[in-house]
Amino acid sequence: MLLKIKELRASVKDTEILKGINLKVNRGEVHAIMGPNGSGKSTLANLLSGREGYEATGGEVLFDGKNLLDMSTEERACQGLFLAFQYPVEIPGVSIANFLKSAVNDIRAYHGLSKIDAMEFLTLAKDKMKMLDMDSKFLRRSVNDGFSGGEKKRNEVFQLSMLNPRLAVLDETDSGLDIDALKIVANGVNRFHTKENGVVLITHYQRLLDYIAPDFVHVLVKGRIVESGGKELALHLEKHGYDWAIKSKKRVN
């Protein structure tokens, strides 16, 4: 099993946000986590990546059998956990090429591998950029600096394809995208996805799921997963809204 979350509880500034999450992700699976604003979706993403200020207060997370919560952020990344940011950070003056090369090399060093050959890196990057319909000038631009919303998200998916992690967590990657950009981003994720890796899509809306077909859909409400099902659950939510899920949560309780 790639990811196993058991009774996970988490707090932000002493307020409990996640109240006992259970989730299992196997290799080859795509999971969608949907929920209204404030349900704890982004908290889950941040907690998984080890962001400062997000504290697990109970339960456990196993990543390929290893205790994820014991690892530093960069160790989790080197182990193959990737987070596509909801709000990608700008780093002025640092080219995407330089940034990604550092990432690739630090991950390789973690696994005891030598640095990537410059030509090999460039060939790989150009290949991936073509797939995402990106101009090769892109590599020379500063990381997210002056990027449009769509460019930032495309850059996240570009990094995903370059780093080729075992598990990709996409935090609201569809927000702020027009339909063409959405298709390109979804296409990038679909190309990345294989039998060997897993994808967790965190989203507010159903529309991303028109382009990336999930194997499982989970509904997160007030820090708990209240419904789980197949692709049809997303369509049901679309029709009936989160109120339905909240009511169903009451039913569960």
Partner: protein
Amino acid sequence: MQKDDYEGKFGSKDQQETLKRITKSDYKYGFTSDIETDTIPKGLSEDVVRMISAKKNEPEFMLEWRLRAYRHWLSMIEPTWPHVSYSAIDFQDIIYYAAPKKKAKLDSLDEVDPKLRATFDKLGISIEEQKRISGVAVDAIMDSASVATTFKKDLSKLGIIFCSFSEAIRNHPELIRKYMGTVVPYTDNFYAALNSAVFSDGSFCYIPKGVRCPMELSTYFRINTANTGQFERTLIVAEEGAYVSYLEGCTAPMRDENQLHAAVVEIVSHKDAEVKYSTVQNWYPGDEKGRGGIYNFVTKRGICHKNAKISWTQVETGSAITWKYPSVILKGDRSIGEFYSVAVTNNYQQADTGTKMIHLGENTHSTIISKGVSAGYSQNSYRGLVKVAKNAKNARNFSQCDSLLIGDQCGAHTFPYIEVNNPTAKVEHEATTSKVGEDQIFYCNQRGISTEDAISLIVNGYCKEVFRELPMEFAVEAQNLLAVSLEGSVG
């Protein structure tokens, strides 16, 4: 006149720990080479000035000049206006002359003291390699005397003179008499006067009319004798239409005592000439508690005649205290002055650095790009003057002063002085203060990049505008130096 202060604030405890660890790297060039040195007793007096001059077999005019400077220095007091603090320097407790003992006159590199050669090798400054691979002529200075000069023959074919200052005094006294002290007179300031009285050696560079120097001229300075003040003097003269790019770089061995370094650099850029002066400065900054380290009090100034250009690019990572304002006097019409600077301070380092652009001619332009990076408990100040004289019609200046803070114990300060006496002048000043953001580091971490590498990346990105002004081989060195300097801080 305005003053902006900003004390850094930085996030969580963990982050602070990492910062502390990274900023605490040791000075990697701290070693002493065991070379026999010819020194004179401590202290300063007329006799000492005479002794220095005599040891160097200087002509009478030079001794006279030194003595005038010394007498003037006696009437001056140490400046206290820089934003730095240190205990008083006892000028009688300094040795004013030290030169490696030469075995014989050196005709080729092979005759250089093998220990000296080994020292340069440790620093990664293999003269031979530089000579062979990079095509850089190196005038290597160990303590105060010049030991080896290369490529002299190639350069002399073009009429270019590149030699030690002592040699220039002996072989080209007319040029020294004509230019020395014309840009930085010995009356200029306390440390310039001191330097004028006791300067030991330095470099002299002369590019004749219309000649474009085909290679980067490079000098490596290095302090090697404990308690020895270093008083270099550099003079660069570019005749009409000439061009030269000059590189100055240094790494000093670790010492407990504070060492005084008061250099003077003068540049004369004649009509249509261009001089590019690049520095990577890495004097010993003291240990992590702020003990030891070099006091670097430097006067650097150039004068531009009609249509001429002078460009200062500096990367400052070393010294316990830096006090340095490479300046340009834009005397001729349409002359251009540029200043690109990266000043990095860590632990207890203090830097008060910047530039002066003095617009005297019409249509003169100046550009100032200053990037300060502060980490640890350091204090980093930018101090700059842009002066537009009454007759300087259509003068233009653009200044950008950015400060980057790493950690919450350091300080960044900006002291811009602007004096405009002509209504047609256009002077722009932009200033920013930012921190290496936790969110930036987290973003890098999430991609597998270690915090140290992340900080190095972010800081190098921040300094990019300055690094791209450096000659290629220096740019790489500067980037490495930055990473080393900030190890254990945030990068």
